[in-house]
Symmetry: C2
Subunit: 300 residues, 2 copies
Amino acid sequence: MVADKINKVSIVGGTHGNEFTGIYLVEKWQQQPQLIARDGLTVETVFANPKAHGENKRYIDSDLNRQFASKDLADATLANYEQSRAKVLHQHLGPKDAPNSDFVIDLHNTTSNMGPCLLLVQQDPVYNLLAGYLKMKMPEAVIFRDEDHLAKDQHHLLASCGRFGVIVEVGPQSQSVIRQDVFEQMETMTGHILDFIQLYSDDALPELPKQVEAYLYLESLTLPVDEQGRRTAMVHSRVQDHDFEAIHPGDPIFRSFNGEDISYQGEKVVYPAFINEAAYYDNNLAMSLMEKVTIKVYGD
Amino acid sequence: MVADKINKVSIVGGTHGNEFTGIYLVEKWQQQPQLIARDGLTVETVFANPKAHGENKRYIDSDLNRQFASKDLADATLANYEQSRAKVLHQHLGPKDAPNSDFVIDLHNTTSNMGPCLLLVQQDPVYNLLAGYLKMKMPEAVIFRDEDHLAKDQHHLLASCGRFGVIVEVGPQSQSVIRQDVFEQMETMTGHILDFIQLYSDDALPELPKQVEAYLYLESLTLPVDEQGRRTAMVHSRVQDHDFEAIHPGDPIFRSFNGEDISYQGEKVVYPAFINEAAYYDNNLAMSLMEKVTIKVYGD
């Protein structure tokens, strides 16, 4: 392996204004930058959407973490608050074709019971190594491949602005609160990622496991609605809080408000994530469905 | 016991626009009124703050469930959205000195791990009987005396508009989601309360336990802050999710963002509730502290 020099790392909090953990961690690290300092790296912190946080909302006008597709960044008529803020952040972290930031770590919370998750949103051998390193250091971490087949230009996520980029997603945590367990998991995972980046950049990684388990996003499942578009059912209690546990064809997946079970109609075993995530109600999403996959740590 | 005739019962959902369970239950019962019908009673449903629900917020301008003190209801200069809406609801459910509604049941959710709770906000022998009946039918229910010493005129809660009034408070549930377990607990508890009201009104209550355990509100505890008013600590993980479990003097209660424990400085054992409730961050509240008390079911 030839060392791939990393210079600039950007840790981003508050991309969603009511996901508090990243915001509080960024504030902590601004006061104590030695905690995120690593030899050979320049590590900065970025508070992505302070205006939304000031109003204690996910966003002001539209979801900031959906504004980073290259065609949208190039469209000056997309001018609401988050569309404008995205262009500024893209100038700072990117631009995508020649990024200022070598590695973006974007910190998020979910209301779902997903534990500490690393979301990989692009494909490159570095992510396979990172997955192996993280699972070795933090076995409880879940590796989540989130539409990582998309080209960088198409990706609408903030993390796609950097040369490399990942999302740290930790839950369950209600919007607008801080839980100690979630705070510590996010701090720990971010520390491991910084350690990895330094070791990777210095070509000094230890021996890693040959392969690790991961989950690959397949599709989103919507909540059942009636002809007027009103919800008629909720996530089944057998599924609620059971993120990453198998759902088999025919398993109950929703419960109607009248008490009837609705079963999963798919043809193969899937693994749910973002179950009953509060922020996804805007789009009436009940959960993401994933398949279990293996990442070859030293693979392409 | 002389029968105390109850005619009109009002079930209120959506006093807080992002507490979904009561809103969805009220909608269900509007479509299927037979589910809440009880012989001899007129049972209505009220959607208290549809505007806040439309914006998926707790409130538009100020907390609706703090606007019902008689002096505020009489003050025409208090004219923001919720202050206006409170006056309309008070005309409908109250007025406090001659209420249209004999019994108000106000449905709420909390992000705290409180389970199904009945909040008693006034004192009267009927609440003692209700506490006994509910604990007999639903032993997992928690009875919570919430500043029930206050006179009806002073009370700023919506439930104080009726001749009698209680709050059904069920969690944990993130704001703006529906959980099946919470939905079923709220539906079950509300059904028991309706059954109780009918039996009470008909002087047909069964034999009840002589006494039941309850928790009495003492005070609220705020999160530690620095000189600039910024939070410096979070609820300790040993306390998080442990609503209604004893805290002893000296027990760790907060953890600073730098990893130091902060212990409880009180002089007697207390029981926490509303631990890390998202809606209370506005006022920087960490939890309510309660004492354990006994309710004499047949007492005054």
